[in-house]
Subunit: 341 residues, 4 copies
């Protein structure tokens, strides 16, 4: 069995593991105030070209989302596509902190400026929540990627309407490695009020780096981290991991490998006449499999059933990562040869 | 500089680190449902002699506390000593989930059965919260340890009054290693409705094992873990860490070393006429230092100021761990010789 | 100016006002435990034919909704049509208590059994909230009314799926007075696990009667009422109001008048070729007005703009109540004669 | 039986009832935006000498407390004496909105400036909540009254430390009528950032007037009112009630009568050698009754047992109000004559 179930099926990538081993015996302070975290934060400030940004290291992605949205006041709400991770797959973690998620339909997993505008228009008085933040993930939950141009339009809309833009970067590095999106960390930092750079899905054992650009959102953030169960006693582990990932562009190399593997897998499917449910250029693909083929592949591979497509077809999800073994994709391709002939 | 600041100043102990390395490349499922977690849970069920217990691996101690207390209904409250970690050092994480902490004074950091009884007596109607759970930490925040006899009385009181007993085991292994307390994991599991075995402070990079004994508290617990930001995508890291700690009693060896070091340090202080603020038999000690000595030691050692004692003295906190280097204690002893002669 | 803005534009109906005056000087206990409340609760138990039901008097409709949903556990969610009052017009009050609202499309403002079934099917694991309650309002926010047959199907679906059915009865009396719906209080009580009988919109100054049928939902409810800001010191006011409303069927007479007035107004519009946006048989109607007519009517009447219909038309909302003056409807009819000729 | 149980045993005072009747049939808008509310708000702005204050009409006292404290950010806490209503008698309503109450001991039910200072000193970092608001009630829960001088010191302390001062005025009028306290509404408004003027306990059927002085606390307050279940559809009832109370100083006349009755009752007790548990100059008194006398008086009067005093004595609470019948006090005095001779 080989697993394409997700991008966190293995432990840490070599560079991260080595850095954890190298720094293991050094004594440092707890809670993310250690020298490894400080160093990693400094690296991030350089990469984004903003030496005033606040950087915090957080245990995971749901914690990051909860923290960003906890910055809102009691009656303020966040806007998201219905397929947004915060709306579907976080067991109501956002609502558990008291905030409503106002959902829109989106297109290909992406929120549209006109949808944001409509939500604000529809929320006119105190009998409704007050939309105050836009949530989006890049890459999205469907593996699609917002381009620089698309993000600029969303940012402009947010500025016009007095909304904060929060970018969930669980797979941000994967988005950065999609060339046609035209993104880099500097651009991201110039567009979002607050965002995170994910490491859990890009080669760390755990951890994400929350980056706060907007001064209004900076004060007392560490209080929230503690309160929302998202502070690690040995924050050093996350700091050290980021130090490894941010050295020699390991984070981009990891993500780039993941994307390349997924696109190679996609070609393997498409080469056998199998269409994709959605055109995703990053490390997740969604082939529409004949149910018989779906069952056959399940014998040798771990992957997710995404949804029913029609009576005879199923949408599957295959995810590649920094750890994906290219030979396994060649092998799967040969299996398709055999099955589809 | 050598640090006695806390018991999480280093990375992982050797056994944990090796297990993380050994299992690093194996593909497993996410979110704590992997084989390492299953194996570790099974080990815990054997150790506590209860094969029906539910075991969950959680990111940290505050998350564990929040989760246990989130099992209460909206109007139910938890009783704790005022010095309890949940009341002082968790940035209102418990209240942030909607629950009130009703505090009592306690003695030496420990809650007394008669205090529990009084709280229940004082809360008679629906204009007040309904006390439903008792929180205690063993070892306590003061390094003191509840004995088996003390815990049995508390358990009996809880049963009488219809309260759940939740035991915060951030330093449970340290308590188990205090012989005169007469405890072992089987006894703990026979007394508490829910408790956790801490690993963050006992040699793991992160992670605690929540153990649920009372059937009423078992359903849907994983929903809470996800919602309260306490589930790790790579839960495997915690599972593997516990596998290492629970093999050949590493968890007891680690805690035992920590206790032994702290008590040796205590003797060093006491041998120089320095009294302890509290009589703590585990891995935290609280010497009452002359302010001048306090400042001198600060030059060579990292440790906490706990509180002012009087105009001329300060209560300090020294913590030892699995990683404490015994030669550093000898060295500190020699320094005391020099300073106090 | 005459107002059709809503059904709470006047104070109390005559019978309620007289009862408030009659009982004003009598001394009673606070918080809804007085004899007026006890008497009114007893009346309700008789009307619903269930002498084991718990009855509580609550300040308003949003409070009732918040209370019912607060009975859920932290990770449990409520299912509602998107147009549900809890989802749109309560400023996130439900989410503020930590619970997610899972929305479905509905039809004519009513939730469909198959939608409930689909939600449960789609929520399969602990990464998503657990649907546990169905919310519906009868009459709905669109003035439509669930029939007995429709409600029975929904109840059956809830029982199958282990969901509680909560019925928001802000305008329950109006629904009861729609003959073809085939409802009465006994039937409502046999179908819902918990529901309320609204009085604010049916002639009281304030107050609703929450009725709990399902034993699981009964314990400690008064704790929630207090905690959620929904308990009145002078609960007597609500008890006395219900005593008046439940005597000689005043609550049905009030609602019946409201419905009759609204339907007469509807005929006035339809008699002038004006269509309704939705076919609502109770006390709210939604005529699609030509924008010019809309503006003209605004000069003499207060009513709500519900939404744009198309470039030239607007959906308006007219609400009638126990207090609606029939001569004003005749007058409006004459105005339409003049405008539309 | 005559009741001294509390100051909300009767309905409305004559002036309020008449105003409710007078305005009953007039059509107005809902939710506290009607002309009666606007008028009453204007009256309050005049009385406090601050034409920029925001005034909102709220359903009750617990709602007011919850609303004021909901203005805090997620990690911010409120400081209160342990005997504070929010800490004891609101079923955790404040914690239910996510905020911790940090308690201090106080003296005679009043918080001391040095206690506030100590709390702030003790809360130094992000592992603890951040104290941001001081709660106090005037009159207090013990019937004691903060003087102008005492309040000025507290205000100064709050300003120094960057804390908001919130004053719970459930019985503010009673405090204003205690001459030696030297207070009036203008002074209150110059000292507190936010406070409310209570009417539930001063002759209205329900309702309190929240007054916001500090500009930082003004934005979006109506969103909170709606979200926290504290907005009345027929807000007119509260507006009209305040119009009556604020005309010809009815609110002061009511409170003054209540105080005078309580002090007369106190003299009756003291004239019979019965001491007070606390020296309270407003409308609540706490005689220390011999248990036998306690039981005897219980046969003819309704009053509260406050607490045990010693084996033979009980602290009782007697409350007088605008409605207290003076002849009943004379009668009680005669009973004491008989019992104590």
């Amino acid at each position: 069995m080989y697993s394409f179930e997700n991008d966190y099926s293995e432990g840490a990538c070599r560079e991260v593991l080595e850095e954890l081993i190298r720094t293991n015996d050094l004594q440092v302070s707890g809670y993310g105030l250690d020298r490894f975290c400080l160093e990693a934060a400094e690296k991030i400030r350089k990469l984004i070209g903003n030496d005033r940004a606040d950087v915090h290291f957080i245990t995971g992605g749901t914690p990051c989302n909860v923290l960003a949205i906890s910055l809102l006041k009691a009656h303020e709400a966040v806007i998201s596509v219905g397929s947004g991770h915060i709306n579907v797959h976080e067991t109501g973690a956002v609502e558990a902190t008291g905030h409503k998620i106002v959902t829109v339909k989106g297109k290909d997993g992406k929120i549209l400026p006109e949808e944001i505008r409509q939500v604000v228009k529809d929320h006119g008085d105190e009998h409704m929540v007050k939309p105050k933040m836009v949530f989006l993930a890049n890459a999205t939950e469907y593996g699609t990627v917002y381009t620089y141009e698309e993000l600029k339009k969303i940012t402009r809309t947010c500025h016009e309407l007095g909304l904060y833009l929060y970018l969930d970067g669980a797979r941000l590095s994967n988005a950065l490695c999609v060339k046609k999106a035209g993104l880099d960390l500097k651009k991201i930092a110039s567009l979002a009020d607050i965002f995170y750079i994910g490491a859990t899905k890009n080669g760390a054992l755990l951890g994400e780096a929350m980056v706060i650009i907007n001064d209004e959102l900076k004060p007392d953030f560490r209080y929230l981290i503690k309160q929302k169960c998202s502070m690690l006693a040995k924050g050093r582990s996350i700091g050290a991991s980021f130090n490894a990932l941010l050295t020699d562009d390991v984070y981009l190399k990891n993500a780039s490998h993941a994307n390349r593997m997924a696109q190679k897998l996609r070609k393997a499917f498409e080469g056998h006449g199998i269409r994709m449910y959605i055109d995703s250029p990053s490390n997740q693909i969604f082939p529409i499999l004949d149910n018989k083929l779906f069952r056959k592949l399940k014998k040798d591979y771990v992957f997710l059933k995404w949804s029913d497509y029609d009576a005879k077809h199923t949408v599957a999800r295959f995810v590649c990562s920094w750890a994906t073994d290219e030979s396994k994709i060649d092998e799967l391709n040969r299996k398709l040869d055999k099955e589809m002939k």
